[in-house]
């Protein structure tokens, strides 16, 4: 309860809603930092009214809220996984059987740990729909590569898995799909072009 209140208080100062994603929080934080540490047409009209120390106080509040929020988010991570997967034999068994961390494998591990997608969403600030696409290998529904990589890493971290091997496995298959996808596109394009020509002549 106390944690939630503190979380909300920090979100208020950073001017985001408590269900904002990590990237939204960061974006707002950077925007506010810039706003109160420089002069723009928005603040110029108030130069006489608010002093440098007013600005400094606001800036300190923003920095403090952001750092507190980061601490809270980090605290959330090990909590939901209940410590190392090594503590749970059944989970260790499953992980030992897995030779490739793909979406369905990650889902199996998560289910065995008794963790819901909502739990992960809360800890990682990633929207549930993306987590679900991730588990179903719906690559076409996932964001561009750099973001997907980040999502996979956060997911693995939330389950206390070996982040590096999960990301490597997952991204190999993602890139494979991506290269096919793009080639496919070109191929279809060429075929259509060819077809059109045939019709023309």
């Amino acid at each position: 309860m106390q944690r939630d209140n503190l979380y909300k208080k920090c979100c208020d100062i950073l001017e985001v809603s408590p269900d904002a994603s990590m990237s939204e929080i960061k974006k707002s934080y950077l925007h506010l930092k810039e706003l109160y540490s420089s002069t723009s047409i928005v603040s110029m009209a108030l130069e006489d009214e608010f002093t440098a120390s007013d600005k400094a106080e606001i800036l300190a509040g923003i920095d403090n809220a952001y750092h507190e929020l980061m601490v809270l988010v980090k605290q959330d991570l090990p909590d939901i996984a209940g410590g190392e997967p090594g503590n749970n034999e059944a989970v260790v068994g499953i992980i030992a059987e897995i030779d490739m961390f793909d979406g369905p494998a990650l889902k199996r591990i998560r289910k065995k740990m008794g963790i819901t997608l909502d739990d992960i969403a809360r800890a990682t600030r990633i929207q549930v729909q993306y987590l679900s696409h991730l588990e179903h290998d719906n690559f076409e529904k996932l964001p561009p590569e750099v973001y997907t990589r980040g999502f996979v890493a956060s997911y693995a971290q939330a389950l206390s898995l070996d982040v590096k091997s999960v990301v490597t496995d997952y991204m190999v298959r993602y890139r494979e799909w991506k290269s096919h996808h793009h080639k496919g596109g070109t191929l279809v394009g060429l075929m259509t072009l060819f077809k059109n020509r045939k019709n023309k002549f």
Partner: protein
């Protein structure tokens, strides 16, 4: 449930009439019953935005006791949308007496409609501000220009000060408020925020009223006439300054770009939002209207 929306912003020529008439038009086409009130008493021309000629009767007839407010409504030619016309040059906010103003407010609230949309003139006269304060949704228009932003701060500071004075006055603290205002400089108070802190300090009951009654006070910001994507953030910046410098709750409900066809539509007496309903600006107006209806901030 009936809702009153008012639009203000301090400076003239920033698109207040265009925005409020477009929102009214949009709401009417969604099947809502709308009355547009042209309370820009010095330079009323909302009818032009609706593609109408100047109506014969106007608010002047109401203030001079020749007609009831309800009888002055005229059809706009758009289903569900009626207009209460203002009067050009014949009236200025200064000329309205206190009793007339109260009567005006009473009758506005009684108008039969789903939405009553009030267009206000530029400036910070207290009659303009009081009309603004009447509304459930207090819409403030800004454009990315320093002069407009300066005027906007002047406007919202006046709005907030007036709200503070009205609230404390109606709770029996009129004299205390006046005394605190007169003694502000001696107490080192130079900003609005400091004045609010000062009021809370001198009297705990006043502090409680400020906490309770001003908690629901909120402004809805619309950023108009943006030419570049990067300007969108000005809305977030102004919202932040309202919160952090003035301690006023504000929401950024959306932005609208520029489109040459807006001016040509007005000149041709065609409502832009109808003629160009699929244009970018028309969709932006629609999104803002929905955010206001749904009580939510703009989606990033």
């Amino acid at each position: 449930m009936k809702e009153i929306w008012a639009i203000g912003g301090g400076k003239g020529g920033i698109g207040k009439s265009f925005i409020i008439s477009s929102m009214g038009n949009y709401l009417a086409r969604q099947g809502k019953k709308v009355v547009l009130v042209d309370a820009d008493l010095g330079a009323a021309n909302l009818h032009t935005f609706l593609g109408m000629g100047r109506p014969e009767n106007s608010l002047t007839d109401f203030f001079e006791n020749r007609a009831t407010l309800s009888a002055l409504r005229v059809k706009s030619g758009i289903d569900n949308l009626e207009l209460l016309a203002g009067a050009i040059h014949s009236m200025v906010p200064e000329n309205i007496k206190y009793a007339q103003k109260l009567k005006f407010f009473r009758h506005i609230k009684k108008l039969e409609a789903d939405f009553i949309l009030i267009d206000l003139g530029a400036g910070v006269h207290f009659n303009t501000i009081d009309t603004f304060l009447l509304a459930d949704k207090k819409i403030v228009v800004i454009v990315p220009e320093i002069t407009a932003i300066e005027n906007m701060y002047g406007f919202i500071k006046n709005v907030f000060f007036r709200q503070l004075m009205n609230t404390l006055g109606s709770n029996g603290f009129k004299d205390e408020f006046k005394a605190a205002w007169e003694g502000r400089l001696a107490n080192g108070v130079t900003t609005l925020k400091q004045f609010v802190e000062h009021l809370k300090r001198v009297s705990a009951p006043m502090g409680r009223i400020i906490e309770d009654e001003l908690a629901g006070f909120r402004l809805d910001l619309v950023l108009n006439q943006i030419k570049f994507n990067r300007e969108k953030r000005i809305g977030n910046s102004v919202k932040s300054i309202c919160l952090k410098y003035f301690g006023m709750d504000a929401r950024y409900v959306g932005h609208i770009g520029v489109d040459d066809f807006i001016v040509s539509s007005i000149n041709n007496r065609q409502p832009y939002i109808e003629t160009y309903s699929e244009s970018k600006c028309a969709r932006e107006v629609a999104a803002i209207t929905h955010n206001l209806m749904d009580d939510q901030q703009m989606k990033i």
